[in-house]
Structures are given as C-alpha cells and as structure tokens.
Symmetry: none
Subunit: 397 residues, 2 copies
C-alpha cells in the first residue's frame, strides 16, 4: 500500500455505525438494518458494491479496538491494542509512543492480605476520583512519570511514562477472591520487562501504603498492561490527510493511533454530520463514528437500534451532496439485539463510487451476503476505498 498510494484530490468517507450488524429477531424475521426504514441507504445500495466484512476471524467477536484497527487497514492480530491502552484512550488520555498503560481496580484486602472484594464494594465514582488524586499526589517512581486517571466507580487507568518500558507483564489481579494479589511478573526476559515489572510492583507497594486506611478500597489490582501499538499513520501508508469525527473518547483515541486529526464534533448524530460538512475542504479522508447503534444492540433494544439507523439514513443525502469519490457505510462488528453483545457475524458493508457492480435494491445483511464483494476481511476495506477513489497505482507492469 505504501508503494502504491498516491496523493490525489479525491475524497473518501468511512462511515462506521458501531455494532451495525444484526440478526433476525422474531416475529419479523428481519435484522435491525433490514427492519429499519432507510430509503436513502437502500437507494445508495442499489448503486453500490455490497459485501459482508469479517473483523478478525471466523466465529470471533471483536472488541472495539480490533474492530476499528481492521477497518483502518491494520491487521488486528498483528497490531494488538492492550486493554490498558484502550482504557487510557477511553478516558481521553493522550498516550505517547513510550507510555505503558494498565487498568486499575480498587479492591479490598483483608487482614491476612487476601483479596476479599475485587471491586472494593463498587465504591462510587466520586470516591474513586478522590483515591486517584491521592495516588497522583503521593506515588513517586524512579525515572518515570506516573499518571492515574479515574474511569468509573472502582476502575481507573495507570500510565507510566519513560524510556525503555515494556508491556510484557502479567496481571497482578488473580481474578478470584480469597487469594493474595500476584506480584507482577515479566513474560519475557528483556531488560525492559524487568524494569517495568519493578515499576509496577513498586507502584502497587506505594499504593498499598497510601490507601492503607481507605477501607474498603485499600489496594489496587493491575491488569491489561499495554503500550502504544506504534501504528504507521494514514499519511505514511496512504498519503491521506485523515480526520476523525467521534463522540466517545475511545474511538477518538483509536483514530489518533492511526494519526487522524480529531475534529470537534457537534451535538449528537446530526452534529457529527454537520462537523464533517464544515470540514469537507480541509481533509481527504473522513472517519465518522456513530455510537448509539452499538449501545442499543448491547441493551437488546432492536427497535431503538433500527431507529438510530433511520436517524443516520436521514443524513445520507447531505453526505452525498458533498460528492465523496468513495464512501463506505459499515460497522466495526455486529451487535445483534438478539445477543445483547458484540458478535462474530459478518458486518454489512456498502461501498459507493462511480465504479461499482450493484447487485441489490436495499442495504441489509442478506443483500450484502449476496453482494459482489462477498465475505471479506475488514482489513481490506481501506484497500477497496483507495482503489475506488483512484488513489492506488497499478501493481506490476
């Protein structure tokens, strides 16, 4: 891709409805997308290439990290975004290339030093924030800066910033009560892992002292150590000046990992589309992320998910008025209301450009299954968009 990509005036939009893919739910027998009244997407589908994208592997339900990495063209098995990194992105922390991040749970140790509650009685978020402040004020580790950022209730994120760190570390959280916390251990024998191990254990030790009188939250458990995945940027790979419009910190963070510029989004779905329009002249690639489809799917709310799709559908004419050279509408994974969770199913994918082979009159899981793109790895989405926007040189003579 690096060798073939060329800078041109053409413009690309990647519109992601989080968790778009669905499943039939009785009695209609239709999926959320099939049941939604979406005349604009249907009309677009009739002029588009359709397919089902597979985020990671057969049967595998992806998290948001791998789901988006694949859509952005990165192999989600090669580029791993640790949970600590996702959490740091999720709280809006600007993660640096050398930062080591981990998730923190405030937890309860009994007098014998064993864990009696892995969630410290689900302390309220305000209490969690106070404890985080105590840690930030008092933790002092040799040679690194330490940042602790509250998430929600008993959850927080810890970030160590310094040279020569590694995320080859095993969790301190034994995942069960009645056991002592594990010492953090290195999972390889590099000096970086050894140093990071020492830092993590020193952090826990200092936290135990600082939190000593804070029953029930008198210790921290660390898990999901992760470092910045060091993705090559969209500019490096595709020569694209990419911008992202997303309302949730985690998706903003994922876009930042790919080197996209974050645009300040307006209010709600309509506001996000307005932001795209206002910035149309300033970039040649736009990633627009719509979250509520996924939230409705997670809630098992079939009708609300369909309504969100209808709300997006109403924005499609305005998007087309901009005249994008290639436009993809898809999801990062399926979140069927039937399952109330992310799932492994193929994700409806629509690609509109002047160079398509339309096969159906509507946008839905089943028309996509019969589309000209068939089932294909989500990792190929960027190649397709680049090809359709005529931004790739020929390979070979």
């Amino acid at each position: 891709m690096r060798e073939l990509s060329v800078k041109t005036d053409s413009k690309i939009i990647l519109l992601v409805l989080d968790g778009l893919g669905g499943l039939p739910l009785a009695p209609s027998g239709q999926t959320e997308l099939e049941a939604a009244s979406s005349p604009n997407l249907d009309s677009l589908a009739a002029r588009s290439d359709l397919g089902l994208s597979r985020p990671v592997a057969a049967g595998v339900s992806p998290g948001s990290g791998p789901g988006h990495l694949a859509l952005f063209g990165y192999n989600p098995l090669r580029y791993v975004v640790g949970r600590g990194v996702l959490s740091a992105l999720g709280v809006g922390f600007e993660l640096g290339q050398n930062d080591l991040a981990a998730r923190l749970n405030f937890a309860t140790l009994d007098e014998s030093g064993k864990i009696s509650d892995r969630r410290a009685g689900r302390i309220p978020s305000e209490k969690g924030a106070q404890l985080v402040e105590m840690l930030n004020e008092n933790v002092d580790l040799d040679g690194v800066e330490t940042f602790v950022i509250p998430e929600k209730e008993y959850r927080a994120v810890a970030v160590f910033r310094g040279e020569g760190l590694s995320d080859s570390l095993a969790d301190s959280d034994p995942q069960r009560v009645g056991l002592e916390p594990l010492p953090v251990k290195p999972t390889d024998d590099s000096p970086e892992a050894e140093r990071s191990t020492a830092l993590a254990n020193a952090f826990v030790e200092q936290a135990n002292k600082i939190l000593h009188d804070q029953h029930p939250a008198n210790t921290v458990l660390m898990r999901g150590f992760g470092m910045h995945p060091g993705l090559p940027s969209f500019e490096e790979i595709y020569e694209l000046d990419a911008a992202a419009i997303a309302s949730y910190p985690m998706y903003k963070g994922l876009a930042r990992l790919a080197g996209m510029e974050l645009l300040k989004e307006g209010e709600g779905i309509v506001g996000e589309f307005e932001t795209l329009k206002e910035n149309w002249d300033r970039h040649d690639f736009f990633f627009l992320h719509v979250k509520p489809t996924d939230a409705a799917g997670e809630d098992g709310d079939f009708d609300r998910k369909a309504e969100v799709i209808e709300e997006v559908d109403a924005q499609v004419p305005g998007l087309l008025d901009l005249g994008p050279d290639a436009l993809a509408v898809t999801g990062d994974h399926a979140t069927p209301a039937l399952l109330k969770s992310h799932s492994w199913h193929g994700v409806p994918f629509l690609l509109s450009s002047p160079y398509t082979l339309p096969t159906a009159e509507s946008f839905g899981e089943r028309t996509c299954a019969g589309g000209s793109l068939g089932e294909f790895p989500a990792e190929e989405v960027m190649g397709l968009l680049m090809g359709h926007a005529l931004k790739l040189n020929r390979y070979g003579a």
Copy 2:
C-alpha cells in the same frame, strides 16, 4: 501442490480473455460480458462453478505480469517480474535464468550534461533500431554478453548475460528533465549488486560515447532492472506438460517463465483455437490467451469488447468437442471500458468439469459474484483446475 500432483491422462484448458472483467456502463446497466450475446458461455456457465477471482489484493489493479503469475498459481507478491524482464519478454527475447534486463530510453543531454528530453524527441522506431544496432556493435563489457533490443520509438531493452548478476539496482532515470542522469546505484551490499552496478554504469558510459553525435538521442536512461524470477515450472509443481498459445510476445514470455512450451499460433482468435485443436494430443495443459478484450477495454470501447467476447463464444463448442476434463474461462484482471484501464475489480471465473455446483444460467460478473466459488484469490485457480481434473492426491489420511 508438488506433493499432491499426479500425472494422469486428463487434460486442462485455461482460457484467458485479457482484461475480461468489466463494469456497468449506462444506459444498459450491464457489463461488457453481461451485454455480450454469448449463448455458448452462458450454457456452459449453467453447468459450471462460478466465482470472482481477485488477482493481487483488495483495491489493487494488477499489471499483466502479476495478473498472469497469479493465474499460473504463483504468488504475485512473492514472485516479482521486474519491468525490464517484462519488456524483454515483450520483445520476444528468450530470457535466461542469469540474465539481467533493464528498460532503456534514448534521451537528450544538453551541453551541461543535464537531461533536456527524456524521450529524445520521440525518435521514430527506425531511428531507434539504428541506434540499437550501433550499441550492439560497439558496446563491450567485461565478462558479460550484452544484448540491446529495440521496442518502439525511443524505447529499448538491455540484457546483460553472465554469472553473478543482481537486479538490486536503482534506476539511472531521474524521471525529470533539467537534472543529470543518476549513476546506477546498488540497493543492497551484495558483491553481485556491486558488479552489476559497475556493468550498468560502464554500459551508460560507453553508450554516451557511441551516441555522442546522435542528437537528439545522445544518451540512454536505464530503469526497471529485473532478473528472471526463477519460477518453478509447471512440470515441477503440477507434473503437467503445459503448452501456451498467445499472440503477443509478453504473454508468450510469461508462459515461458512458467516452463510452458510455446505453440505457433494461427491467425487471430480463430487461429489460436485452431492451434489448440491441432496440438490437443501433445500436451495435458493448455493456456490460451486472447488479447483484444483488454485492448478494447483500454480504448473505452464497450461494444468492441463485447464483440470480442462474442467471437470467443463462437469458439467454445469446438473447445468442448475436444473433451477437456477441466476448463476455466476467466481473465487476468478487469479492464472496464468505463475506466479505460486495468482495474482492481473481481474477475469473472467459470470452471467446467463433471464435478461442479452450478448456480446460474449465464456467465457474467453478477452471476459469478453469486457463484459457488464466491470471491477468491486468482492464485487458487490452478489448484481448482488440478482438483477438477482429478490430478491431486488426497491430503492426509
């Protein structure tokens, strides 16, 4: 494949319509293949496996080299055919395993030694041939034989034949006027690259002396250094005695790279099919290449491309009369008249054998998209043909 392939009496035909894949062009909404009146191919499709083959990667438009290598079962990203090699094949030069080939442009140097015209005023082909003769008569390089072969106008091919050469060389052509030609430089630090660099620079130096008084063509620029890709032959991999019928030197050359025997083709498309019939008893694999589909696509001539398909269609009954055990009809890439160029789109693929799962009544991009083979890498075509011809042993017990 090497381990599974067995010699049998069954026979395979791979019929390649260059640039077969197309796109709908208003007002019919049909592609070239869909619009063509091809009753024989349609009838064959109704007894065949259908699919869309992908030559290289999503969104990537392949050149003829990678497109054919993939159809012949070679990974087109692993086996790279340099431009110099393709040019040598294109002029009918029988490239040896140790030959180093490069493209030559006759160009114009001004008094200060800078390039004033990279194409030497587009000298006529006769003049180019004269200059090539001067080079062939007068260039004398240490330890290698040198061949210069005219292409067209200001273009030629240079081949160095000798032991210990390498194509890890960067072009001397700076791709812009107003600059001095670059000295050829090695791109790795092998002794072969060093030696080849010295040879290439000595060649340019001698050419400059020989051409000194030949304004405007008073120098040569070298680019696209390439060596024989060293493909394992069809006999080695598949135990096939393969023959090729092609009317253009480049495709003959690609077939030779795979170890196919070149059959002397008759006149035009009909003549090519006649050649196949005449040689039916002498080989067990036939690659038949039809060029004019691609040429029509490149010209943006939708109707002519459809007519070429019709011309091929008329030859299908004769082909079937031979009783091939497995017959594939496909292209090396798409060349939609809409785009007037090679494109990245899936290529219609039809495989006829007694062991197929028919899904449609006609041969077209959309019936292929819905076919039992789905979208698949072109690199798998040879495996499919070998399987359908019952030439592969079972894998594992």
